[in-house]
Every structure is written in structure tokens, then in C-alpha cells.
Symmetry: C2
Subunit: 587 residues, 2 copies
């Protein structure tokens, strides 16, 4: 039986079962499709229509653009390039030129189990993630060995972002894959089926984790419970405003389930001139009735880039890459408007404590504090946010209300905000007192005294190279350059004034072009994206790129992690260094 016949049969079977199994397919799509937002999912209803809608939804969701690489491989195929890969030729010969119906059917191939092929568990797929082990990917139910295709991938080594895992979420975003030709090509690499147990998620009914939101499949978890995940670094610098569904998530506890219609925010003035005189509870509508203020702010986890610091010596903490940061437009009520209306006077010794609805096992909420001076500063732009990039906050980002403290470490941007206290003390929470603090490289767990260190507020200057990624093979342009792109940011509203790149260990530095908001220094809370074209030598086959940013106070990044190492692995802002291989077009 030809593979084409098999596919048709499988597809028919699928369509027959579709009505009764629509719910199961929804489950599959939830796991592999690009339909990230749970709101969208909850709108889906059973039956054929649902299955189709999800299938196509998966191919259109996301909203991240095509990016900067051109899908020239297929163009090459169409023009009859004389250097197509053997495998793709084989593919073309075994798959007949499809009729119109076949086109629709072909879109379901990866939803179909091919009985003649073996079944693989996900961890087996995951173990095939390098050229040495072979590069396997999954798409729907299909398992594919794309090792020989990698060199021909029009997007270059970006395909390696999916090595050992699902390509579904990438394809949902990079929609140039949504053609019959690509689907045919993929199917030609099929080697098996993904085990069903790895397709259907197991819910924790009744546990504190039972009501966790669904997340975008591209958010790569550093931890599942609490959920902590970052997007692929290679995608992070594509958009100035990070798409909500790809914005890193750093939860400390299970996600609480709040409703906006019975939400209440307690505010208590327990210190200062008006201590005890004012206490009130605001409803969600009360907050929305206050003047709406919008601020662009990057939020960064204190542990962003920890995985690089860990290479010096292990630290305690989630192994974040450089993607624990995102840049968004946040809208909500100004905290200063609220506090001033309640009679709070400037007092530099006071603090503002934020408590969330997320509770630890002893029923203590997540909490953190900031100085009152930051909260009252009209240029501080602290807001009680209900929108993120013009959309209501999602549950993972603090629905319905989150504190946004621009320029300050993510941990103080408390989500699911339910209580604010003006106090003469910092928050006594674990996260304020015994976490998110910096120490000398020689301080260890035997000698550490958290009470001696300052709680991180404003973050230091940092930057990261987003593309190329480590070990990526980078095409050198005809005029001998490679293009490098990334982000840079500094806390405290300090604008990035320069990003320097070197590909020869500092012998020559290249100044990047910056993409940033035109906002005054001290209030420049958004990140800066940057692009640099770096010349490379004709014979050069590999190189290491270093990036360092400079902020408006001319603070610079430290060169290496050795001397900023700290036992919690926070403040990991040394030069970002990425080794790549250079490839050149045949002349």
C-alpha cells in the first residue's frame, strides 16, 4: 500500500470518528496547537466545526510576524534549483500532485496515526535533539526525523528551536509553513506516531494546581509548578511589544482564580502622617473609573540569564535563559493618584506593600514592597494595571489587577493584587526579605545573612543577543557581514544610550542601531531592541559575539560572571556571549 493510500485511509477514518471524538481532538490541539489563549479555547464548541476551527486557528494564532528571514527555500524549489536535497526530491516523487480535496486532507496528515509506523514516547523524541542523535520533531501525532533537512531549512538553524519537541507552536506563528507543499515535505520525513499518553494532558483535579491556565506551547518551562516559562530567545527580539501569549511567566505559587465582578482591593495606610485614618476597598470598576494611564515597561525576572551564571558555579534557582523578560504597554490607574487622594504625604522612610491572592501552603500571600517615594513619584509611573498591550490581563499575568512598577525587578510587580499597605517597614514576605537580594561572590549558604543585603528594586543594565542563537549557523552576507539582533534594558527608567558588539574579543566594537521609545531619561521604562551588522573575515568559520549595553548613567555590564556570581543567581548581567558558525552561499 502506498503511503499516499495509507494517508487517505487514515484521514477518512479520522473524519468518520470526528463527530464523536471532537472533544479529544480539542485536547490534542490544546497540547500542540497554537491556540494559546484560554479565552479563545473556551469559546470553542464540539463537532466538526470546532475541529476545523481549531486546526486553522492553530495556523493563524499568535500574531508574531514573519520575521526577517525569507522563505526562499521553497521559492528555490519552485524555480527548479539544481541543489535540492535528495530527501525532498524523494518526497516529491512519492506524493502525487494533489487534487483540491487532497489539499484539505493533507492538512490532516499530522493528525493521523500511521499504523505501519512505530509509536514513540515523548521522552524518546526529546532525546533526539542534536545532529549527533538525529533531530526529531513532532507535529500533531506525527514524529519526524528531519536531521537531513536541517541544512536546507530556509529559516536556517531556527528549526533547532524545535529539536526534540513540537513544531506546532512555531508553525502557528511562522505561517509561511502553512502550504500544502510544506506539509507534503514534512510528511516525507515521518518516522512514527507520538504516544497518545503524551498527547492528552493529565489534569490535577482537586489539587492547588487544578486550575492552572493553559499556556502557549512555545513558553518553555523552567518549572511547571509553580509555572515558570520563557519564550524561545530567537523570537524575543522580533517585536517591540512582546505578544502577551509569549511573555515570560514567573509564578511563585498556584495561580488564583479571581473574578472581576467580585474583586476587591484593600488599601490601608498604616504609617506616616495619615496612618490609620484611611482604609478602603476598591472594586474592579472603582479602579477602572480612575484616570487611565498607559506606560511601556519591560518586566524582567531577577533571575533572568541565571543559566549563564550557573556555568561558573551552581546556584539555587530556576535555570532561566535570557528570555525571562518582556516588554509591554500596561494600562491602569496610577497608584500615586489613589494614594494622594487618600491623603498620603511624601515620606522617604515609608514603603508600599503589595499582596497578591496567590497563597502559599500556610495561607500567606505572595507579597513584596517598594519605597513610597517610587509609588508617589509622578515620573515613577507605578500603576494598578488591568490591561497588557491593550488586552485585559490574562490569569497568568495577574488578572484582574497587577501592580506594574516600571524599572523595578519583576518580583515587585505583584500579580492578582488584593491588598496595598503603606507601612514603615518593607514587606516581611520571604520574597522581600530572603530572596531577590545580591551578595558577594564569596558569600555561601553557610555565611549568608539576608538581613544585610538590600532588596533588589531597580535592576542593573543588561542586554542579550537573541539572534543568532548559540551554535547557530549564520549566513554571511555577500558583503561579508552577519546581522545580530537583541534587546537591552536598564532599571530605574534609565534609557539605553548605546549597545556595543564585538566578534573579535573586544579588538573592535560595533555600535548597534537602537529601536526604542523617544522618552526622557529617568522615565524610559521600555526596553530597546537593537540590530548590528558585524563584518567577518573571509576565511572565518566560527566566532563568538559579545554584547554589552550602556545606560544613561553610563553604567556598563560587567565582563564576566565570575565576579558577580551570587548564591541566588540573580542580577546575572555580564556580557552576553554567543558562539556561532558561519556559512556562506556557494559562489
Amino acid at each position: 500500500m502506498s503511503s499516499m493510500c495509507l494517508l487517505r485511509k487514515a484521514t477518512k477514518l479520522l473524519l468518520m470518528r470526528q463527530r464523536s471524538q471532537a472533544a479529544a481532538i480539542v485536547g490534542v490541539c490544546r497540547n500542540f496547537g497554537g491556540t494559546a489563549s484560554e479565552e479563545e479555547q473556551s469559546k470553542q464548541r464540539g463537532g466538526e466545526q470546532a475541529a476545523r476551527s481549531i486546526l486553522y486557528g492553530a495556523l493563524t494564532a499568535g500574531g508574531i510576524g514573519v520575521g526577517y528571514f525569507i522563505f526562499d527555500y521553497l521559492a528555490q524549489q519552485r524555480l527548479g534549483s539544481d541543489e535540492p536535497s535528495t530527501k525532498s526530491n524523494a518526497s516529491s516523487s512519492t506524493v502525487a500532485a494533489p487534487e483540491l480535496d487532497d489539499k484539505a486532507l493533507a492538512r490532516l496528515w499530522h493528525k493521523t496515526a500511521r499504523d505501519e509506523l512505530p509509536t514513540y514516547a515523548l521522552d524518546e523524541v526529546q532525546s533526539h535533539n542534536t545532529v549527533e542523535t538525529g533531530i526529531w520533531v513532532t507535529y500533531g501525532l506525527g514524529v519526524y526525523d528531519v536531521t537531513t533537512f536541517v541544512d536546507n531549512h530556509p529559516g536556517g538553524d531556527k528549526i533547532l528551536m524545535a529539536a526534540g519537541s513540537a513544531i506546532d507552536p512555531f508553525w502557528a506563528i511562522y505561517q509561511q509553513h502553512n502550504t500544502l507543499q510544506v506539509l507534503e515535505l514534512l510528511e516525507s520525513y515521518r518516522i512514527g506516531n507520538l504516544a497518545k499518553s503524551d498527547v492528552v494532558s493529565v489534569e490535577d483535579q482537586g489539587s492547588p494546581w487544578a486550575n492552572e491556565p493553559k499556556r502557549h506551547a512555545l513558553l518553555k518551562p523552567a518549572a511547571e509548578r509553580p509555572f515558570n516559562a520563557e519564550p524561545p530567545l530567537g523570537m524575543l527580539a522580533e517585536k517591540f511589544y512582546t505578544p502577551n501569549e509569549l511573555f515570560y511567566i514567573r509564578n511563585h505559587l498556584p495561580v488564583p482564580t479571581l473574578q472581576d465582578d467580585d474583586y476587591g482591593l484593600e488599601i490601608e495606610i498604616s504609617a506616616g502622617k495619615h496612618a490609620g485614618t484611611a482604609e478602603r476597598t476598591l472594586s474592579f470598576e472603582d479602579i477602572k473609573r480612575l484616570p487611565k494611564h498607559t506606560v511601556t515597561a519591560a518586566i524582567m525576572c531577577g533571575g533572568n540569564r541565571r543559566s549563564e551564571m550557573t556555568r561558573v558555579k551552581p546556584v539555587k534557582g530556576l535555570s532561566w535563559g535570557a528570555g525571562a523578560v518582556g516588554n509591554a504597554k500596561w494600562s491602569g490607574a496610577r497608584l500615586s493618584d489613589l494614594l494622594v487622594a487618600m491623603g498620603v504625604q511624601p515620606d522617604e522612610r515609608l514603603h508600599v506593600i503589595f499582596e497578591g491572592a496567590d497563597l502559599d501552603p500556610t495561607a500567606h500571600p505572595y507579597a513584596a514592597s517598594i519605597p513610597l517615594s517610587k509609588a508617589l513619584d509622578p515620573r515613577g509611573d507605578v500603576i494598578l494595571a488591568y490591561e497588557m498591550n491593550d488586552e485585559p490581563l490574562t490569569r497568568d499575568h495577574g488578572f484582574p489587577i497587577r501592580a506594574i512598577v516600571p524599572g523595578v525587578v519583576g518580583a515587585r510587580n505583584v500579580k492578582w493584587l488584593t491588598r496595598i499597605v503603606v507601612s514603615d517597614q518593607e514587606s516581611d514576605s520571604h520574597w522581600q526579605q530572603n530572596d531577590y537580594k545580591g551578595f558577594s561572590p564569596s558569600t555561601d549558604w553557610d555565611t549568608v545573612d539576608f538581613s544585610l543585603a538590600a532588596a533588589i528594586q531597580a535592576m542593573p543594565v543588561t542586554s542579550a543577543i537573541c539572534t543568532p542563537m548559540p551554535d547557530e549557523r549564520v549566513r554571511v552576507s555577500g558583503d561579508g557581514h552577519i546581522t545580530v539582533r537583541g534587546y537591552a534594558w536598564s532599571g530605574g527608567g534609565r534609557r539605553i544610550v548605546r549597545v556595543d558588539l564585538t566578534a573579535d574579543a573586544g579588538a573592535t566594537w560595533h555600535v548597534a542601531e537602537l529601536e526604542q521609545e523617544d522618552l526622557p531619561d529617568g522615565r524610559h521604562y521600555g526596553w530597546s531592541l537593537w540590530t548590528a551588522r558585524i563584518p567577518v573575515k573571509e576565511q572565518q568559520k566560527e566566532l563568538e559575539i559579545w554584547a554589552k549595553a550602556v545606560d544613561s548613567a553610563y553604567n556598563v555590564q560587567p565582563e564576566s560572571f565570575e565576579n558577580i556570581w551570587n548564591l541566588r543567581g540573580v542580577l546575572s548581567n555580564a556580557y552576553h556571549r554567543v558562539k556561532v558558525k558561519l556559512i556562506r552561499e556557494a559562489k
Copy 2:
């Protein structure tokens, strides 16, 4: 003739001539004495009384304390230590126990030319400033070869601060030298007389430099015209408030001569909501009638520590050591009070231009600007200062009014302030537009475009080791430690939260004790002094100490100068590294 007889004879001669030559002695004292302030000098009147008053004035002026080392050498001598140096024994044996009269006479020995000894020009003295060349110093008219004494100096290698130059200003401050025993000891090292031509200063009558103030002899000039000088680094960390007469001076042009009684400060609002509506001139008394505000602020030259950066590759600029910084209490009127009273509204696009009375050869004033947001911020603490450490400003520091812009590079703290303009542009002065900006290490004078770089405002975090000094021989304590002391500071009101020291290239770091004001972050404009005790290995004979500071935004210093090098040599804030030799007490 014994040396004692010679001395007595010389002293008698001096006393006979004293009445007629009092004025000449005043000249000598001005050059070599510790009477730094010109105000003090102008109060001196001729005659014997003046000579004596200056002589003793020289020994009491300054106000810098004894510091942290104990004058244990003389104590040792008194207790009959069994290990005095040969030379000092010799000294004791040749100089007879003095009578009361001799004590007074002995104080004049160094004021006396000894005819039997050769005369040396100052540049010959200056060439003897290392152990290899021999270490010569001068005191008054005397030239002394103290090479063999250096090892026995109770203050250790601090004596080398004066190698090849005058000890007068040091002794004026370190008053433990003011004993007959020390004077006798010094005279025993006498080898000659200083040439008169090097004693009497030559004034530039009629030139723009004719009215330069007299400066403290300890201010070591990086340039004479305009005058730019810093105190010896070894003394800088002795006092939390830098004594006015030792505060570094960075003039860009000749010092103008202003009087407080006909002083006028023009204020012009040329942009913003109230542009053109308000313009006024304030007298000195007008300013003093405004509410008086005091702020502790370190002022640092943008080129501080340039001499270290220069070692990587030459730069354009004065070769500052790490002493182009000082910390003082500044008092005056708040600029924000004044601007608010004149109707100036917050507008983040505007600037405040400061113009001084110091004019360049084309009659353009020195000028610089800061953002209006800094000027209006109640936490910005920008003041029109008329006092420095509770004293009226001296001419070199901007008499009668200077702008103090805490947390911001010295160049914006405009002295001899005569005009303030609220403008929609930064100052168009050379110093704002084409100087005091940072660049990539690969930017050179062929490629530089000053318009692309941000004018330095807030300065980055930095620190310096003040004691020990480079190549100093440091005594190891009985328990195997050395003591290291220095300063640390960051711009923008960011508090120093930690200073780390290492003596083994980063293998182990030691956290210093901080001495700083208890002020909230964001408004912590003063510097921090720090002290660390560092353990050293038993056999170790030399080591290199590195210091790095961390500010409240957890910004750190870069490790080395290579990658922050810039063609103007500003922002030179890499780790401070000092190599020292270790010496141990005999057991």
C-alpha cells in the same frame, strides 16, 4: 664644627635678620606652609608676629586628623625599643638633649640656609623620588635625603607621597611631626639648601591668570592653567567630609573675580508654559533670603581616574588620578523653590542651562545644562550653593554662588553662576556638546560624532583604594591581615550597597565596612568610605588588591579599562587595582 654648632649659628643669623625679612619669610611660607586659605593669608600682617603666626599656622592648619595609624615609632623610641634604625640612633647621639631655648630654635632649622651645604634646584630634588634614585624631600629651605629613613617611618610608605617634593603641607596636617624630636631627626638627614628661585613664586601680573587664588600645596596639579588639581589619594579617605582646601579643583578657564555685594544672577524662562513671562536678577542677598537647604554630595570630575584608562591607550585629557572627587556638605537655596515661584511647570523635554562668570578667550562663558526634571524634582536637591562644609565658597569652588547638582558629573555643577536659562535645548557650550560624553572603544577622532552621544549627567558606580597606595609597603598585622580603605560612589543618588575587595584575583572576596549617611536610596548623594581587613598568606610578599563597588541598582564596575576605553578618557570606572608589598614586624 659640629652640626649642632652650625645649626645654632644659622638660627642666630636667622633671628637677627628676621625683622627686616619677615615679608620674605611670608613668601616662603605661602609656598611651603600649610596655610591654604587665601582668606587666612590676607589676614596676616608683617613683622615677627606674622612670621611666628604663619610658622605655627602651618603646623595647625588643615584640619585633617591623625588618621588611623598610630605614631608608634616615636613611642618605640621613648620606650627604648631594641630595634631602632642606625640612622636615628646616630641622630640622637649627634644632637644633644636640647634646652628650652633650643626647642624654639630647632623649629627654625629648616628655615635656615646652611652655608656649608650645596644648593639644589627643585627639579633636581624632584628627580630623587624612588628608592633607586634616593628619596629626597624638602622642608622650608632644607633639602633632605631620607632614603635610609623610609623603612623606619612610623607612617610607613605614606612618606613616599612627598618623595621628590615638599613635606611642609603634610606636616601641617599630620601634626604628630610637630615635636622637637622629629625636627632633630629630620635635620640629621639634611644634605643641602633649596634654591631661592624655587621658593619665591612668580606672579603673572596683567595676564588672565594674574588673579588666580593661592591653592593648598598638597593639591597636586594635573594642569596649572586652568588650574586642575587633586589631593594625594592617600589622604582622601581620611575624612568623610573632604576639607575644603583639599577638595579637588577642576577649572576650565581663569578664575573670575566676583564680589558678593555686586553679584547678580539672571534667570530667564525661555521655553515651556511660561516662556518669556518671567525674567529676573537675584542678588547674593536675595539668594540667601530663600530657605536654606543643605545636602551632602560628592562631586566627581568626569575624568576622574583617567590616568588608569590612559595605560590602555592614550586619551585626550588631564591625567587625573583617583582624587578628582570630594565629598562636602553644600548649603544654599533650592533651585526648585526658585523655579516654581517663577511659574515653571514640569516639562520633561526642557533643560536648565547654567552659565558661569568664567570666560573663554572669545568671551563665551563656561556653560552646561541639566534636564528640567532634575532641577524641579524635590528629591533632586539641586541648589544654588553659597556654603561648602559650613564655610563660604572659596574662589576656586565658585564664590559666591555655584550650582550643585547632586549625583551628576562635576561639569554640570557650574561655578561662579551668573545666569540660568530654562530652555528647550541643552546648553550649546563646548562642554555640553563636544566634551563629557561617552563613546565606544572603537570610536576614534576620525570617526567620532559628538552629536550622537548623550551628555554625561548621572555618573556610573565607582570606587578607589586610597590606602595603601600603589607600591606601598604595607605592614601585616599580627593576625595576618592588612587594612585597606577607600571611597565608593554612584551617581543619580544611588546608595552604595556593597564594596568587595579581593587580594587573590577574585578567588575570594571580602566585603568592606561602609561609612555612609543614613539616607534613602535615590537621594543618597554623598560618597561612602569603606574599610576592609584582608587576610594574607604567611609567605606572601606582595599582592594586588582589587576594589569594586555595587550600587542600589546593583550596577557594578566593569572589570577592566580595555572595553570601556573612550577617546576622551571619561567614565573611567573599572575595578581599582593596587599592587603593594607586604612587610612584617620581626617576631
